[in-house]
Every structure is written in structure tokens, then in C-alpha cells.
């Protein structure tokens, strides 16, 4: 059917013509001269810009090529056509039939491909990365400049020539490459290997190779390609960074300054160092993750907001004095400085906190001290070790007469009397030994030249390290005191002189008294003895011849002599009592009393005497003397109760604050109180000798003994109603052996 159609329609020139005209490809019939005999619409469109009339135009046709390109822009937008010419014979003539096909699309693709390839080549050649292609056996197939330079070769060409096998020529450890490849084969996902590589000169660098494999259909590696980067520098900088971070971390943790990192927005703690925690008294996990407002750290939270907004604006907030609250609730003052820092995409503030509470307290204390110093009435000054005055208070102005302005910078030595200037060196020497000179009395010269007595307290001033860098000196005007002291001294001297004179007089008198009593003892008794002796001899020689009256006279003489002898003995004893040395021991008075009572023989025989003896203490005293006291007092009691059918004699003691009082009470004849004062005098008697015997020396002796013991004597009584004699002895409750209490509680 096709054949019949073909015959039929090919005969139809009109149909053919129509087909040719509608064809997308351009068709031209060109004669052997190159003249276009016919062109269809598509061909005319292609050459419309060049030829007004394509038919009749002349074309050069090369016969040899069956593919030819008509290059160049044929219209304003460049289009490419492929012209294919073929010979046709018609009526004995040869013609060229040229068919034009638009290949612009294909051309553009080809062009782009070419440019891309050029670009890649360029990239390959000039990339900073070292790019390579190496056969599995280890021969370099491709390498770029960077790769060559990285390994110390001038060019890829040189490298290819010199490197026979990369395993040994480029790897520091030749076995490494195979290890890499083996790993790579087993797990193609791993494409990155770090190795130590060897340069041409033998030096080694660390590189990171990114590998890719080119494989055959079976998956076997044909060759390896990829690139190597020298990471030595990066390694170094990574290390440096790590170290720096470590250092920062150390600084952070060990800084004595409190450091905190909080979010800027809400003040939530990201971290805080130990110093910070110490200041507040928190543990780290009590703080991290919490906000400062939860912890009520800011006494005035708006201060924190101000600081936060300042940081937002300027990036920093510096040296803010803030009042903060510790965990304990106590407040402290700190200096807070902060900067903004971004952590994980969030704005944070890194804050430095210095606790200045101590500083502040110190400052306040210093201010207070300064006021005290300035208002002190003592003269207070400070000076250098060389003596240059550096501080001078109001008291000093008054004491020395120099104003602060006048004296500052002058030397302390100008206050010394010229002859005493070396004193300053001596004082400094003592201070340098760390000594404080206290209450040192000296003389200084006032501005008007007048000397003034001062009492100085001088102390070293030390710096923080404890070195002595200066001297403080407090002076007090002691002129008045000195004057008074001088008066007291002269009074004392006067007094001492008088005492010495008196003592000398007394000593002389005492000596005389001693000599006197010695003479009395020897010389007064001898004549008495002679009187007695001769009256006795006389009595004997007159025996039988004398009358009763004569005998009575002789007896009176003897009695008087005896009495005189007793008086002399008593007087001597009394005198001795004042002079003899006391020998104090612990004396049990009960034993003394009982001993004395036991010694009364004759005197109490046939008498009815009731002895009431209460507890008597042990005292520190001269035993012999106290025995004499009781002999006298008890003897008197016995004597003056003689008229009583029953004598009652009581001996007692009573403690007072610092003395003990003894009493001897009797129910005897008593005495009239108006003579009580005479009782203790020498030779004072209230009774006649024919009523009660005695010389009147006993109570005088008692008084003298008790006085010598530091006590007192007195008596109470009434005529016919008995008498009570008292004496006191001093005592310390805490005696050496505590015997006093022991006895009283018995």
C-alpha cells in the first residue's frame, strides 16, 4: 500500500512541495557553482538576516564533509545549525541538496560541558587541597600542585617521576597505607584517615586524607583518589585552644575573685567558681541552675536589672558596688564587674565579684579611728624612721605649740632638748627590735622654747609585710604630775629624814632602857639581898634577946624587901616583854588554857571553881607570851572570885571579820567601869594589897603582849558583879594550814 501511495503522491509535485515547505529542517538546492536555486521556508528563516533573497545567493560548499556546521550568529540570538549536503543528480546535472538542522541546544550543552571541565581542571590544578589519584599498587596517577608542594616537590611532574611507590615515599610509616586501604575496603563509609606523611626532605607532617575509591563492576578498587590536608597547624592551634581553655578553666576555678556566669535574661546560674561560692556560703549545686532572684542574692533586685541593661547596651558593666545576701542571710558589700558572653547561643553575663566588706569595715574603722585620733587630748604624731613628722593631731598642736602645717615634714629632733637628741636613736633602736616603748618619761621643747614633761608611748608602724616603716608616738603632758611628784618626793624625803631622826632617838632611848634595866637587874637587887641577909643575920644574933616588937620590925624589913624584889622582877619582866623577839608558831589555845589551869596548885586548892571552856582556835602567835596572857587573866579570875563560895570562870572565843576575840569572864568582885581605863596600866591597882595581893603589872603585860600581836584589850565589869576581860588577835581565815576553821567547827 505504501508503494502505491508513494508512486501516487510522489507524482504529485504539489504535495512534495508542501512537505518541503513545512519541514522544520531547512532545505536548499544549490547548483555546482554554489548558487542557491531553491530554499524552503525553514532555510529562508535561518538565513533571513544575511540574505534578503536566499535564492540566488552563493554558498561555498565543501564536498568532502558530509557534516558541516554553519557557525555564527544567524540572528540576534546565536543559534547553531548543522548543514549536511548531499549530491543529487537531476537531468544530467549534479546539484547539492543542503539540509539545515538547528543544533543550538546541543551546542550549548557541549559548550557548558567544556567550560565545566575547564573549571574542574582549574580547580584541580590550583586547589589549595592536595588532590591525588593513586593506583592500588601505589603509583601516583594524578596529583595537583598543592599535593606536590605539600610533600615538598616542585611540581606534579617531578613528583610523578621521583615517587615510585607512595607507601614508602610518602608515608612516615610505610605500612600505614595498606592499613588505611584495608579499613577502607572493609567499611567504605570511613573515608577519612589521619597519617603522618613524609616530605621529600624527610620531614614529617600530619595530614588528613579524604579517600574515595574507584571500583570495577565487581566492586574491586581500581584506584584511590581524594585529597590530603596538612593538619599540623590545625593540630597545633587545636592544642593551643585546648590549653587556653584549660588555663581559663583553671583561672576560673582557682581565682580568688568570685566568678559567676549567669544568663543575661533571668540571671540563671550557668556556673560559679569556688571563690564565688565561698563568699556566699553556697555549695555549687545549690547555685547552678537557679536564678539569683530565687536565691534572693540581690538585696535590691533592680540593681541587677540596671547592670543587665547596661551590659546589653555597652557589653560591659564595671566596678559596681553592690550589696548582696549570703546563704546565711547576712549581707555583704562587693564590687561587681561584668561582661557579656555568648554561651550556646544565649547571652550570658560573666561576672567578677570582690567581697569588700572587710575593706569597707576597715575603712569605716579607720575613719572612726581618725576621728578619735584627731579629737584625742593626747598629742599623737607619726613619723618616718628618720624622724620626719608625717602626721600631727590637734592634741599635738596644743602640747607642742606647732600647727600641723608648720610641723609636717620637719624632724622630730626639733622637739628634743639639744642635749637629748641621741635619745631618738635609742628609741628607734628599741622599736626596730619590735619593742613598743611605753610610758617613757622625757622632756620636749615647745615651740615657744619652754620645756614640757611628757610621757611617751612609741610604737612601730608596719606595712602589710610586717616591715617597720614608721613610728607612732603618743605623748601626754605630765608637767602637773611631775610637779606633784616633786612635792611628794620632797615631802617623803622630809618625812624619811624625820623618821630617821626619830628612829635614832628611839634606838638611843631603847639602848638606854636596856642598859637601865640591866643595871636594875644587877644593882638594885644586890642591896635588897644584903638588907635581907643582914636583917636575917641580925635576927639570928638577937635570938633570945629581942622582944616581940623588934622581931616584928625585922619581919617588916624582910617583907618589904621581898615585895621590892617582886616589883623589880615584874618590872624587868614587863620591860623585857617589850623588847624580846616574838617567835610565832601555831598555838593551840585550848592546850594553853588547860595547861595554865593545871599549873594552879595551891591557889585553887579547896576552892569550888567551875571552868567553862568553849571551843578555842589555833592561832599564829608566840606561845610563851600567850601563856603569860592566860596566866594573868585566869590568875586574876581565880583571885577576884575568892570571896565567892562557887567561882564560875568562862573562857570563850568569837570570830569577827578578820579577828578572833577571846573573853575571860568571872563572877568575882568586879570593878567600877569608871576605872576601866586604868586596868591595863603599869602598877595600876583597883584593890588594896591586903584585899588582893599583886603588883599591878599583870594586865599591863597582857596589853603589851596583845599589842605586839596586833590585837587589842578591854574589859567590862561592875562592882560586885564580876568582870569580863577581852582581847583580840588578828587572823586570816585562810591560814597556812586552815587550822582555824577546823578548830571552830569541832
Amino acid at each position: 500500500m505504501a508503494d502505491s501511495f508513494k508512486v501516487q503522491y510522489l507524482e504529485d509535485a504539489g504535495l512534495l512541495r508542501s512537505l518541503i515547505d513545512k519541514s522544520q529542517d531547512g532545505m536548499m538546492l544549490i547548483d555546482s557553482r554554489g548558487i542557491v536555486l531553491f530554499a524552503n521556508a525553514a532555510a529562508i528563516a535561518v538565513f533571513a538576516d544575511r540574505y534578503d533573497h536566499l535564492v540566488g545567493a552563493r554558498f561555498e560548499i565543501s564536498n568532502s564533509s558530509d557534516d558541516m556546521e554553519i557557525i555564527g550568529p544567524v540572528r540576534e540570538d546565536t543559534r547553531y545549525f548543522e548543514m549536511r549536503a548531499s549530491e543529487v543528480r537531476w537531468r544530467g546535472q549534479t546539484y547539492n541538496l543542503a539540509v539545515l538542522r538547528d543544533i543550538t541546544g546541543r551546542k550549548l550543552v557541549e559548550q557548558k560541558l567544556r567550560i565545566s571541565e575547564q573549571n574542574y581542571r582549574h580547580l584541580f590544578e590550583h586547589a589549595a587541597l592536595g588532590i591525588f589519584q593513586v593506583s592500588l599498587r601505589g603509583e601516583i596517577k594524578e596529583a595537583n600542585h598543592s599535593f606536590a608542594r605539600m610533600f615538598g616537590y616542585k611540581s606534579p611532574q617531578e613528583m610523578k617521576e621521583l615517587v615510585k611507590k607512595v607507601d614508602s615515599d610518602l608515608f612516615a610509616d610505610p605500612s600505614r597505607r595498606l592499613q588505611n586501604i584495608r579499613q577502607f575496603q572493609q567499611n567504605p563509609a570511613i573515608g577519612v584517615f589521619e597519617n603522618d606523611y613524609k616530605r621529600r626532605d624527610g620531614s614529617v607532617f600530619t595530614g588528613r586524607a579524604h579517600l574515595q575509591s574507584v571500583r570495577d563492576a565487581q566492586g574491586n578498587i581500581l584506584h584511590i583518589e581524594g585529597f590530603v590536608e596538612d593538619i599540623s597547624e590545625r593540630r597545633k592551634s587545636d592544642e593551643a585552644l585546648r590549653k587556653s581553655e584549660e588555663r581559663f578553666s583553671k583561672v576560673f576555678s582557682s581565682s580568688p575573685v568570685g566568678i559567676s556566669i549567669t544568663t543575661l535574661s533571668e540571671g540563671r546560674f550557668v556556673d560559679a567558681n569556688q571563690a564565688f561560692l565561698n563568699v556566699y556560703g553556697y555549695a555549687r549545686d545549690e547555685v547552678v541552675g537557679h536564678t539569683s532572684s530565687e536565691l534572693k542574692m540581690w538585696v535590691n533586685p533592680e540593681v541587677r536589672d540596671e547592670i543587665a541593661s547596661e551590659i546589653r547596651e555597652k557589653g560591659v558593666a564595671q566596678e559596681k558596688e553592690v550589696t548582696l545576701r549570703m546563704k546565711s542571710g547576712d549581707l555583704f558589700t562587693g564590687i561587681f564587674s561584668s561582661e557579656i558572653i555568648e554561651i550556646s547561643g544565649e547571652d550570658c553575663m560573666i561576672g567578677l565579684l570582690r567581697d569588700i566588706t572587710d575593706q569597707k569595715l576597715a575603712y569605716e574603722a579607720r575613719s572612726r579611728l581618725a576621728v578619735i585620733v584627731e579629737s584625742a587630748s593626747d598629742a599623737i604624731l607619726a613619723k618616718t624612721l628618720d624622724g620626719v613628722i608625717t602626721a600631727w593631731n590637734h592634741g599635738a598642736e596644743i602640747l607642742y605649740g606647732y600647727s600641723t602645717a608648720e610641723i609636717l615634714g620637719r624632724n622630730i629632733r626639733s622637739l628634743y632638748p639639744p642635749e637629748d637628741v641621741e635619745e631618738e636613736d635609742a628609741i628607734i633602736k628599741r622599736l626596730m627590735n619590735g619593742e613598743t616603748v611605753r610610758q617613757f618619761e622625757s622632756v620636749r621643747i615647745r615651740k615657744n622654747g619652754a620645756p614640757v614633761d611628757v610621757s611617751l608611748t612609741i610604737s612601730p608602724i608596719r606595712d602589710v609585710e610586717g616591715r617597720i616603716v614608721g613610728v607612732s608616738q603618743i605623748a601626754r603632758d605630765i608637767s602637773e604630775r611631775k610637779k606633784v611628784e616633786q612635792q611628794i618626793r620632797s615631802l617623803n624625803e622630809e618625812l624619811e629624814k624625820r623618821v630617821r631622826e626619830r628612829t635614832a632617838q628611839l634606838e638611843a632611848a631603847n639602848k638606854e632602857l636596856e642598859a637601865f634595866s640591866y643595871s636594875v637587874s644587877h644593882d638594885l637587887r644586890a642591896p635588897l639581898r644584903h638588907i635581907h641577909g643582914y636583917s636575917d643575920l641580925l635576927t639570928r644574933s638577937m635570938e633570945g634577946k629581942s622582944d616581940e616588937k623588934e622581931l616584928r620590925y625585922l619581919k617588916y624589913i624582910s617583907d618589904s624587901v621581898r615585895e621590892m624584889g617582886e616589883l623589880i622582877d615584874d618590872l624587868l619582866a614587863f620591860s623585857r616583854m617589850g623588847r624580846i623577839e616574838m617567835r610565832k608558831t601555831s598555838v593551840d589555845l585550848r592546850m594553853i588554857v588547860e595547861g595554865v589551869i593545871g599549873s594552879f596548885g595551891e591557889e585553887i586548892s579547896g576552892r569550888d571553881i567551875q571552868w567553862d571552856i568553849s571551843d578555842l582556835p589555833t592561832v599564829e602567835a608566840d606561845a610563851a607570851m600567850l601563856r603569860l596572857v592566860f596566866q594573868n587573866l585566869l590568875g586574876n579570875a581565880v583571885k577576884y572570885t575568892r570571896p565567892r563560895p562557887k567561882a564560875i570562870i568562862s573562857i570563850g572565843s568569837e570570830f569577827r571579820s578578820n579577828e578572833v576575840i577571846f573573853s575571860v569572864k568571872d563572877n568575882g568582885v568586879g570593878f567600877d567601869m569608871k576605872y576601866a581605863n586604868n586596868l591595863f596600866g603599869v602598877f595600876q591597882r583597883l584593890h588594896r594589897a591586903d584585899e588582893f595581893e599583886g603588883t599591878g603589872i599583870g594586865l599591863a603585860n597582857v596589853r603589851r603582849i596583845i599589842h605586839r600581836h596586833g590585837g587589842n584589850t578591854w574589859a567590862e565589869g561592875a562592882t560586885d558583879h564580876g568582870a569580863t576581860f577581852y582581847f583580840s588577835l588578828p587572823y586570816q581565815k585562810k591560814g597556812q594550814d586552815g587550822t582555824l576553821e577546823e578548830h571552830t567547827s569541832r
Binding site: 637587874s521 637587887r525 639581898r529 644584903h530 635581907h532 641577909g533 636583917s535 636575917d536
Partner: protein, 151 residues
């Protein structure tokens, strides 16, 4: 009866001498008593000097020594006696009016053999002195070299 040994009585007061001899005489002790009137004489006697240079050798059996005497007092005589190797064994009795403590202490310190205070009352005086005489001149055995009186 034992032979009476000699007694040296150093006493300045003649009444005391008389009363002492009276007391000794009542017990027949007065015969062998040599009396010197002060300390110096006592020493002359003991050292056989001056008027005693011709007395026979030998120390008395006892010296009765008063303290308060002119020239050289009794304590000085005592000191001399007790400091002399030839005399120190000779018994010395202080016979005095005083019982002054200082005299007692000094006497005993110097080595006195007895210290007797002359009693005031004559009877007691006689008793004391005669007992002294009996004891030292009869009962007591004197050191070697003492002179014996004639019975």
C-alpha cells in the same frame, strides 16, 4: 669524909663575900675558899701572876664568878678561862644577881658549867650557895690538875 677541894670566889662586893662565906661556913665549906675582888685579880690568881705568883700550882675545883665586877667583868674572865687549854676544863659557876637573858646566853655560849641567880631571901641564898659548895667542892670529881686544899 672526902677531902675538901679549893674554891675560888670572884666577888667585888664585900657584903656578898661575907654572906657567901657565911652560907658556905654553915656547911663547913669556907676554909678552902680563896676570894678575889675583881676579874683582873681572878685572872692573876689563875695564871699565878702578880701577888699570886708564888701560890702553889693547881687550879681550884670550881670558880664562883660574879658577872658585874670592876676592871674585868665575870664574862670576860669566863671567856679567858674557856679559851685557855690549861684552864678550860676547870668548872666555872656564874653566881649573879641577874637573870638577864643576855647574860644567860653569853655565859652558856662561853661554856659555863652552871648559872645560879642569887636568891633575894637570905635563907634561900644560904641553901643555894651551900648546895653549890657541897656539889662542886665535895661531890664533883674535878679534872686532873686541880689543887687540893688541906682538910
Amino acid at each position: 669524909m672526902e677531902r675538901l677541894k679549893s674554891i675560888l670566889l670572884a666577888e667585888d662586893n664585900h657584903m656578898d663575900v661575907e654572906l657567901t662565906l657565911e652560907a658556905l661556913g654553915r656547911h663547913n665549906l669556907a676554909n678552902e675558899v680563896e676570894v678575889v675582888n675583881d676579874g683582873a685579880e681572878a685572872l692573876e690568881y689563875l695564871y699565878r701572876r702578880g701577888k699570886f705568883s708564888s701560890r702553889p700550882a693547881g687550879n681550884p675545883a670550881v670558880v664562883l664568878l660574879d658577872i658585874k665586877m670592876p676592871k674585868v667583868n665575870g664574862l670576860e674572865v669566863l671567856k679567858e678561862i674557856k679559851g685557855d687549854p690549861n684552864l678550860k676544863m676547870m668548872p666555872v659557876v656564874v653566881l649573879t644577881s641577874s637573870r638577864e637573858e643576855s647574860d644567860l646566853i653569853r655565859s652558856y655560849n662561853l661554856g659555863v658549867n652552871a648559872y645560879v641567880v642569887k636568891p633575894l631571901e637570905f635563907e634561900e641564898f644560904v641553901t643555894a650557895v651551900s648546895r653549890l659548895g657541897v656539889f662542886w667542892a665535895i661531890i664533883n670529881e674535878p679534872p686532873p690538875g686541880s689543887s687540893r686544899g688541906i682538910a
